[in-house]
Symmetry: C2
Subunit: 520 residues, 2 copies
């Protein structure tokens, strides 16, 4: 055994995408560029793990205390995480990275950590934007990042029942490749798809871009295998059951507080023969909301159904380059005053059902090029954040969901809160997930970074926006709670709800080693 292991997936290896010139020009004109933030070198402190604990962990699986490995698991990908990695704000660095290679080894790691009173932060793709993987130690003397990269198998596949068992450390693309060899797909494609993992999807109730077609991740899960400090728990199995409360729903969204998800049994579908994406434009936000609501309530949603508000549409056109002028002119000719872009994509659902529900509605078709353009760029957001930081721009996202009757009030309230706090930010909004009873709202905020207090600038904006969000809907539709949404959870689930979570936690993790400082 040695203390430097082959760490197969380091945090900072993802390529970042530079901003094209026309995007920089738009930013300069519309948002305003700032000075690049001075980078303060960040170093990993000496690991606080005792020699005994290290030896005990090493007897189970690979362990690393290398600074680069530990820094690579220090937090996720929120704006504040990015600032911390540039030396602004306090970065929590795990004392070691452990890399179990099987569900049984995960159980053993937890036993060692209970014995040595070490905090454990389960770590998948490290894509949390809510502080969900911050290496907080709580009351413990040390904290380890439990990297699940070694759990990367397709364990089994039942092609008749269309159920696959996937290990928790598989990333989106890895899972799709393994399923694809058998002609199946999971169809779960959130923006974090390229790096996020099966275990992370389950632990955070992830929603993919095509969730209108394939379902949210929790809808895809048949059962979960969880390593807890009190032993292993397999929960769920039958296609549907009335055998008491659905306890797998207690594990889904538990963010590593009750145990470490090691395997997930999921519903899979045959790979679609082809896909089709199209762009449309409606005149005004309200007309767009009405349109998406009709599709949702008619059961006629496309697999991907997105509505951008006027501001986001303007940005989409601006970033589309020279072609945008042609589109703008065409829309003017068609009498569209407040263009709102609608992207519809069909992977497995019927396009004809959508189109027949659209018939008679005032919708301008932009065709497949606009759809292809969205598809091409759909993972770019996270990749461009470093480039935006370099350009002196504060960029972050917020999201929620609420009933149809409250969608526009929510959008107005969040915008107002952000404007009140940030001066004149660019606030873009879209609906990306629609349900019969309501929809998600996703906000992207761009504002020149406050050089003197970049951390405080966003923290204050987040508090203001979250106040509006929690008053009118859920504090999070698909980003999870983590550390950042914790102050608003009690308002949403009640004191009793928090107490119930604590009661479950006390039973499954009696010494409180698992992911301290998150969720509750």
């Amino acid at each position: 055994m040695c203390n430097t292991v082959a760490v197969t997936r380091a945090r900072w290896t993802t390529e970042t995408t530079p901003l094209p010139p026309h995007a920089l020009a738009w930013l300069s004109r519309r948002v305003g560029l700032g000075e690049p933030l001075p980078e303060v070198p960040v170093e990993a402190p000496a690991p606080a793990l005792s020699a005994d604990a290290f030896t005990a962990l090493e007897a189970v699986c690979a362990v690393s205390v290398e600074p680069s490995d530990r820094l690579g698991r220090a937090g996720g990908l929120s704006y504040l995480d990015l600032l911390r990695h540039r030396g602004h704000g306090s970065l929590a660095v795990p004392d070691a990275v452990v890399l179990p290679a099987s569900p049984a080894e995960v159980v053993e790691v937890l036993q060692v950590c209970v014995e040595h009173d070490i905090a454990v932060v389960p770590f998948g793709g490290g894509t949390s934007v809510v502080g969900g993987v911050e290496a907080l130690r709580g009351s413990k003397s040390a904290v380890v990042a439990l990297d699940l990269a070694g759990l990367e198998a397709l364990v089994s596949l039942d092609p008749v029942s269309r159920v696959a068992v996937l290990q928790a450390g598989l990333t989106g693309p890895e899972a799709e490749r393994l399923l694809g060899e058998h002609g199946f797909t999971l169809g779960h494609v959130p923006q974090s798809f390229e790096r996020a993992t099966i275990g992370g999807f389950a632990a955070t109730r992830s929603a993919g871009q095509a969730s209108s077609g394939y379902g949210r991740f929790e809808d895809l899960v048949e059962s979960v295998r969880v390593a807890t400090p009190v032993g292993e728990w397999v929960v769920g199995a039958a296609p549907a059951s009335a055998a008491g409360p659905d306890l797998k729903q207690l594990v889904l969204g538990s963010e590593g507080l009750f145990g470490v998800i090691t395997e997930v049994s999921v519903r899979v579908r045959p790979k679609p023969y082809g896909s089709r994406y199209e762009g449309f434009v409606v005149d005004g936000w309200e007309a767009g909301v009405e349109l998406v609501r009709t599709l949702a309530q008619d059961g006629a949603l496309a697999d991907v159904t997105r509505l951008s508000d006027v501001d986001e549409t303007e940005v989409a056109l601006a970033l589309a380059g020279p072609r945008a002028d042609v589109v703008r002119k065409y829309l003017r000719l068609r009498g569209v005053r407040q263009p709102c872009l609608v992207i519809l994509g069909w992977e497995c659902r019927s396009r004809s059902a959508t189109m027949s529900s659209l018939s008679g509605k005032k919708v301008v078709r932009l065709g497949r090029a606009m759809g292809a353009s969205w598809l091409h760029g759909r993972f770019n957001g996270p990749r461009q954040r470093d480039a935006l930081l370099d350009a002196g721009v504060c960029v972050e996202t917020l999201e929620t969901a609420t009933r149809w009757s409250g969608v526009s009030q929510m959008r107005d309230a969040v915008r107002a809160a952000l404007v009140a706090e940030l001066g004149s930010p660019v606030v873009m909004c879209h609906i990306s997930h629609a349900y019969e009873t309501g929809a998600s709202l996703y906000f992207t905020v761009l504002v020149p970074r406050d050089l003197a207090d970049p951390v405080g600038q966003w923290e204050r904006a987040k508090v203001a926006a979250s106040g509006a969000i929690s008053r009118l809907g859920t504090i999070t539709h698909h980003h999870a709670v983590g550390r950042d949404h914790l102050p608003w959870l009690e308002g949403e689930i009640g004191t009793i709800g928090v107490d119930v979570l604590r009661a479950v936690k006390a039973r499954l993790d009696p010494t409180g080693i698992l992911n301290p400082g998150k969720l509750v």
Copy 2:
């Protein structure tokens, strides 16, 4: 205040339907008739409620200690319940019936019961077939039935978001009438529809006959208002959320152990313009399973999709009277050797999607008369049980769900277990709820009653069948756990699962007054 209240919904008022002559003839030939069970008069014991407790309850709401009211809430509608009400087996009779008229009064009743250490059995329609409303007192000195009939309002309706708030005591028809006035339907029609209540649907994870179209009851619920001994809890709200585990899923299926559901916020749909039901026949069970699986995995299920095995089809034809001979002849002409009836009904889903998925399959259409006949008789099962008892027949049902790859193995195993225990029963089986990954299996058992030991006869058969069921699937797909399925729950959810339920129970009901002896 007085101690005899207007008890608006007594247990034994439902009309029972007599068996028509041709049904009796078939029973006599195929099952064998027995002697009517001698009825032993059943009396309610003197109520064990203290005068202080009675006074305290009466200060909150109406209370009755009348024997007829108490006997009317003594258990549900299982075969064993029916035997108990005829004097065979031990009938648990509540010491009083309390009738709160609002969610606040329910909270107050619970506080009084905590103070006086009285067990509380929430009582809706009293249609449990698993002992879910047995008036067990556990370690308490008295037990009251908390009848929710007074909570009967449509509290609110958001027609844009299509969400209604219904009180827990509304029966299926009452809820439909109130929603129907606004053009909406819940679409939840289990066999217990006529008497079962909204609160009961939620507390037991009920599945309606049209759940392929409208969804299982838990899929319809947006939020739940629960009165617990530690206060009121409203859980759920947003159309979708990642704010931690979905805690409403912990209340759904909790069978009154964590609290009393007082209001449920549900998804509603526009009332369909019309419905259409048709009968089809396939040749053999395996072909039928394949057909229903294809419909489920193609997303082409009818709202009601049912497949009967050969034995159930034979009974359906026998009970259809003289018309059956014509059908049998037609099926022989078409070369069908092992007719299995398929009933498809469309309320809100597209018939054309189903029919196009059926195209090319070997299916004989019987037309709308057979569909109408099923629709006409779909609530008859529970109504005819008293008549069957009078004819000396033991009749009971069992149900489960499992993956498609295990459906036929499950059917064979349950039949074999019943035959081994009961000699030569008639065992009928159908699939009534299909999912992408599997289906429910519903068994109806008919056998001449053992006059010497009618209770033991069924208890032994239940144990034998449940052993097979729990080995191959869930112990219950939609009947819930209650008292009768309790021995098999730990095998399904694990020791950890049971401990988690106990931890939640200890937090919400620290003195253990709620529904003792059920679920865990």
